[in-house]
Subunit: 444 residues, 2 copies
């Protein structure tokens, strides 16, 4: 059972009575019914790529781990309705490929897409690199099928863009990290395939300029701006060091911005529009330099610089990770004040900052460069969290933008949510899972 | 109190102990607290434009009507974050105008926009004519402030595009029609103003061709296709007859499609692209005729043809209204089968069909042309509903796409929702409103 009992980051290791791998909704329901009758806790698990330990069981060994990985059928594609119906165990990349084969785009895209599963994406309301244009997993979901904690099946697999018939229950299960039931299938939105793409890597001086540039890009390109990713020089350095392959040579700069336009105009027109925009921005000194990808392959290499930051950081050693979001207007102030406070408290630390600034979402991670000292620094996580999360809270932000709460941020959640909100969440948990058997020790 | 006790369509008239008009969140909370302590029911009301009687109190005269219309402040606009924070009593058009003044677009747009209020739009998850591109009110909402049935205030006014910190409670209140609490303010998304618009009126032979054309428009124009509205010749006739002003002369045709493109390209390019698309569609006989608006004024007149259908129908007399949605691929089959079944059962009826086919949403209304017979026909509403709604249900559709449930469709809801889903909804209602005081007799 080893592979199921630890998390991807290597922070958590739990124990379980057994691992069950049902292949159908009826089989999931049967397992849940038996567990509910016996009063045994259940931990649902997809691709096991959670960054917060949401899919790892506790250490008491008294729960049943339910892996959804055998529920991997694409049940239906409707190209006129632009929907795809998939089971929870489908790997994200499989869904992307099924959509592409049908001449459509499924836009959810993130670093773990080759192994994460849709059930996990739904349960954590995964974000990724195209949220700016297409929304989070929540916004991509039209319907759900859920096995409730009683073992009953809720068939909410509607494929409708408008449906106002009472409370919208699917939104309770999306992002609930398996604490209210087990998602077994979903109806997801598809989109027309973009007819053209333009990708560029920009050298910029500061987060404040990045936010200004974002506003100008949106004014100019509207919905065609499909990605806008911030990368600090330190983050880029880790990729250069640990994943040396053939990197496109991008200028040294304190900050970088990876942008992608895609849309319905033809590619030459799109590239031309972007080229004149970038020339004007260079003239106005909003950029230091700009590299416009000349081929799909070069665009892929630019994306690899961004997507491999997490992997490179893992090779370097553990770090204290923050996955925060802020009103976009407050991002520059956050970076400036958080950097200053952290460097004052821990002069030896390295801060790795990157993320989806088009969504106000930063990954903001700290470690020390010297491996020997890192263990001691990691022990300071509560104090580091306090500095970062208190500031996030002060600026109206969120302590978990796209990774969820899991085991990692349960105590933090209690600190920052109002008692009114925590009590509403608890009341809903008690109502839907009165025995408290679904993924105990996570979120609440 | 008369104005508050009847609905816009003139179907419902209720009674109330009193009407209160609090001007602040604290005042709403104080009113709710007093009612909760006294065990008195509350009916929240915005612009009172519900089509389902959701804002009209029952006839027992034992509830307090809470009008939010004095809570009409725009609290904040953040152009870098693209958000606007408004109070529940803001008229929709006021919000659109505030956004426009700040150089942004608030895209929610519907016939009642001059009098409906945001609190009502949120409570019914209003749709309208730009859902295809921008989503329903739900998708436009980032945060809420809600006075709970206890009188406590939940401050969920977050202005974040990514926030995964536990259950997403705002989605419970959006679309709940005031049965779980009173929404007092919201943070809404703004968008870049489109730089160009092109509007066209198309004569088409059938709903099947409309759906095919929609798919081709989406493939060609992607996110630039911001509206796609179907209008039957009968619906258009009512506007010509009752609102005779200066209508653009559009060709007679069994069906019409009003489409709008808007986006970031320049207007000449957009119009040219649409012109060549329409020329090709004419060549392929997908269209009978096409009228491309030559000015903003002409575009406004084309939209008036569409927007005034409801008003014209009201002048003609009452009708049995259906607000249904279907998977877009099933729309043609629905129209064909529903028309056939209704005309067989009621040979004398007139069917008025129009709606947002880009969202799979049809307004499908029936009356008789002879006023004398109409009263008798209206009495047949249960049988007419049965024919229409049974077919909607069979085809995987919804009996309320954008108008909600209110009093009108409460019994229908029980017929079509699964017992599992109804019981979950009731459990949530009992949990958040244990005394059952919030807008009783609506939805559940």
């Amino acid at each position: 059972m080893t592979a199921y009992l630890g998390d991807w980051r290597g922070r958590y290791r739990g124990a379980a009575l057994c691992v069950v791998r049902p292949a159908t909704t009826a089989a999931v329901a049967a397992v849940v019914r038996v567990c509910a009758e016996a009063g045994v806790a259940m931990v649902p698990q997809g691709g096991n790529t959670s960054l917060c330990g949401a899919a790892t069981p506790g250490s008491d060994g008294r729960s049943v781990l339910i892996s959804l990985s055998r529920m991997r059928r694409v049940r239906a594609i409707d190209t006129l309705n632009n929907t795809i119906t998939v089971e929870a165990g489908c790997v994200l990349q499989t869904v992307q490929e099924a959509a592409a084969e049908a001449g459509r785009l499924f836009p959810l895209s993130l670093a773990a897409e080759g192994s994460c599963q849709l059930g996990g994406n739904l349960s954590t309301n995964a974000g990724g690199v195209q949220v700016l244009r297409y929304g989070n997993t929540r916004e991509l979901t039209l319907g759900l099928e859920v096995v409730l904690p009683s073992g009953e099946v809720w068939d909410g697999l509607r494929a409708l863009r408008k449906d106002n018939t009472g409370y919208d229950l699917k939104h309770l299960f999306i992002g609930a990290e398996g604490t209210l039931g087990i998602i077994t299938a979903a109806v997801l939105k598809l989109f027309p395939k973009p007819r053209s793409t333009a990708t560029a890597w920009l050298a910029i001086a500061s987060p404040a300029l990045a936010v200004r540039l974002l506003a100008e890009l949106q004014a100019q390109f509207g919905a065609s701006l499909t990605a806008c990713e911030l990368v600090s020089e330190q983050a880029l350095d880790l990729v250069r060091k640990h994943l040396p392959g053939a990197h496109p040579s991008v200028s040294a700069s304190p900050w970088h911005l990876l942008i992608e336009l895609s849309g319905s105009s033809d590619e030459a027109a799109l590239r031309e529009a972007l080229t004149s925009f970038l020339a004007a921005a260079l003239d106005q000194r909003m950029l230091g330099d700009a590299l416009l990808a000349q081929s799909i392959e070069q665009a892929r290499c630019l994306w690899a610089l961004r997507e491999n930051i997490g992997e490179a950081q893992k090779i370097e050693g553990q770090s204290i990770k923050h996955d925060v979001s802020l009103p976009i207007s407050r991002l520059p102030e956050f970076v400036e004040r958080a950097d200053r406070a952290l460097l004052l408290a821990y002069p030896e630390i390295r801060i790795v900052t990157f993320g989806h600034i088009g969504d106000g979402n930063l990954h903001y991670n700290q470690s020390t460069s010297a491996a020997g000292e890192n263990a001691a620094f990691l022990a300071a996580q509560p104090e580091v969290n306090r500095i970062v999360h208190d500031l996030v809270h002060e600026l109206g932000g969120s302590i978990s933008a796209e990774h969820g709460i899991g085991q990692l941020k349960r105590v933090e959640l209690l600190r920052y949510k109002s008692p009114v909100e925590i009590e509403m969440m608890r009341a809903i948990k008690r109502t839907l899972d009165p025995q408290g058997l679904m993924n105990p020790g996570k979120v609440l």
